[in-house]
Amino acid sequence: MIAFEAHNLTVSYDKQPVLWDIDFEIPEGKLVGIIGPNGSGKTTLIKAAMGILEADSGFVKIFEKSPDEIRERMGYVPQRQSVDWDFPATVMDITMMGRYRKGKLFGRLSKADREIAVDSLKRVGMYDFRDRQISELSGGQQQRVFIARSLAQQADIYLMDEPFVGIDAASEESILNILREMRSAGKTVIMVHHDLHTALEFFDWVVLLNTRLVAAGSKDEVLTEENLRTAYGGKLNVLSRIADLVKRQEYPLREEDSKE
């Protein structure tokens, strides 16, 4: 089964296209790294898939359905720095947020939800910290709480944005273990990752981006010298000039009916 499909996906950020006609598929049960230089649209791809950013054209399908139909099966780990960790909440509070659902009346959670959250915290080794204020955590611990929150979603596909940035060795080990557990449980994990060296070790599938798709497939196929040179060898000059041009136009890039 195809877990993730991007079809002719074009997405803009701040009115400037940062992803051009991305088109690839990822089979179920893989550990996938989205790799590319800074500003290559990695985060944008994840946000578009989660429906946080709207696509200019094209679409993403998860398990052959539109993300909106299948949200309950999608776990999400945003970038750690995207929130204010001074927020008055405990580790348990944050993890419980993974249990919120659209259908649940006013977000009230049951005992079973609490048990799932407790179990998620145990898996990332943060159960002893459950009553801690999130402002007292180290970077690695914060990241583990975010992972626990996504585990509490009990999803089948997980999208994570740079969970390995700025964390300690113990947290890295803990997160890696979780990823292996997830893979053996048949889950699909798609992760933005910036470090080429560890990418080779962590993933079995790689999507190589540089505002356009350079390559997608099994890591041995994708991480070739030639592909890497294409991805990291600088931006396509004409492409970035056109992106600038698009930003300056007042009219939309595409007509509405070109959307599917």
């Binding site: 989660m50 949200r71 204010d84 008055p88 659902r101």
Partner: protein
């Protein structure tokens, strides 16, 4: 104090509590200025409602205020979305334009013959005394709506305030949550036009939350505490202003609010300035005490003797003012030093503590030298600072990592490592 005045106080209590509860979410979402923009933007709504309705009753003016407040939010959103103008600029533009229009309308009303000499300018800075018992019902309804909405949607509001993108990602009705929060904010701000006035109302939204944050790290407690602070300020401000003739109430509410907030800033346990100052002092004393113990250890190490007078200690280390006396007193009190006449010596516990500090100092020097390749003659300075903060767990890790070493980079003994080997 008449029965009417009691009603006024009840009205103000309701307004203060309700506005502060909603304000917690504005504060946490870092939207303090939006509250101010809404408050100022109410004025044209109030004026227009007066022109249409022809009377000063809050029941007539409130809907006008509410609509104007909502319009200001929509205008800010529209400007940021459809232009390159950033939110702070959009807020400033909307605030000033709405308020300007409001003042023009107000002046027009005063100069025309709108019957009952209006007194509409009371809505600038508030005049709680103008409140009628029949107005209280409105505030009670507003509070009921505010508090029950917050209670019902509390988990959503909490998640949305912390991480709006995640809310969207898991499919929560983000538009609905946004709409709810905006409506609650407008409602809260609009309820204050009579008691506090449009110019200062935003203080009652934001300041209680900011003050409450100093005392608690639980959102639910923070809301309740903010409500209490808002209530006390509103009631207190109105009471004080009632003592003087023709005094607007808003400024007094803000005065009390500010006094409470500043007190929180200064005196709050653990987060307040005083508490932080004390902690710093305490740490300073700890550092100096440990340094003096170390001095005893090193002098003993040199084999000079183990009793030292003040003069001898002063020969080896500089102490400012009465520092030496303070430190000696503290160490004698903790029984880490003993005194015989004019000389001082380490007690058994004192020697243990001194050994520990020297050990950590030398361990850290070795760690810097070995693991971080810093030259032996560069490591001392860093270790002087780090020796005071390394915890027993970290010390264990250092020992393990370095293989229970016996000599530091200067070939001096690292004392007591043998006894710590498991």
């Amino acid at each position: 104090m008449g029965a009417n005045f009691t009603w006024v106080m009840i009205g103000c209590a309701l307004i203060g509590a309700g506005a502060s509860a909603v304000g917690v979410f504005s504060f946490l979402r870092k939207q303090a200025l939006v509250g101010d923009a809404i408050a100022h933007s109410l004025l044209p709504g109030v004026a227009l409602a007066f022109i249409i309705g022809g009377e000063k009753s809050i029941w007539v003016l409130f809907p006008g205020a509410f609509i104007a407040g909502w319009l200001s939010i929509l205008s800010i959103e529209f400007i940021t979305k459809s232009s390159k103008i950033k939110p702070d600029t959009a807020i400033a533009i909307v605030l000033t334009v709405f308020f300007g229009i409001g003042i023009v309308m107000l002046t027009h009303i005063q100069q025309s013959s709108y019957g009952n000499q209006s007194g509409l300018e009371d809505f600038l800075f508030g005049k709680a005394a103008a409140m009628l018992p029949s107005d209280i019902a409105l505030f009670a309804i507003v509070d009921l709506v505010l508090i029950s909405s917050i209670a019902l949607t509390y988990p959503y509001l909490k998640l949305y305030s912390f991480d709006p993108e995640y809310s969207r990602a898991i499919g929560l009705p983000v538009r609905f949550i946004q709409f709810t929060l905006s409506s609650l904010t407008v409602l809260a701000v609009a309820s204050g036009i009579q008691a506090v006035g449009v110019v200062l109302m935003s203080a009652l939204i934001i300041t209680p939350a900011a003050a409450a944050r100093f005392f608690t790290s639980r959102l639910s407690q923070m809301i309740i505490l903010a409500m209490l602070i808002g209530l006390v300020s509103a009631v207190g401000g109105v009471y004080i202003s009632s003592l003087a003739f023709k005094m607007p109430t808003g400024p007094w509410v803000v005065m009390i609010l500010s006094i409470l907030a500043i007190s929180a800033f200064v005196f709050a346990p653990s987060k307040g300035m005083v508490s932080r100052y004390n902690k710093r002092k305490e740490h300073q004393l700890k550092v100096r005490s440990e340094n003096l113990l170390k001095l005893f250890f090193k002098l003993e190490e040199k084999g000079e003797s183990n009793h030292f007078s003040r003069t001898e200690l002063l020969n080896h280390r500089k102490f400012e003012g009465r520092d030496l006396e303070t430190i000696l007193k503290s160490l004698l009190g903790k029984r880490l030093l003993a005194r015989s006449q004019d000389s001082f010596s380490l007690t058994e516990e004192g020697r243990e503590e001194a050994t520990r500090v020297v050990r950590i100092h030398r361990l850290w020097e070795l760690y810097l030298n070995k693991r971080m390749s810093i030259a032996a003659d560069h490591v001392h300075h860093d270790a002087e600072a780090i020796e005071h903060i390394i915890t027993p767990e970290l010390e264990q890790e250092l020992l393990k990592d370095l293989g229970y070493p016996e000599l530091d980079p200067h070939k001096q003994e690292i004392p007591g490592t043998k006894n710590l080997k498991p």
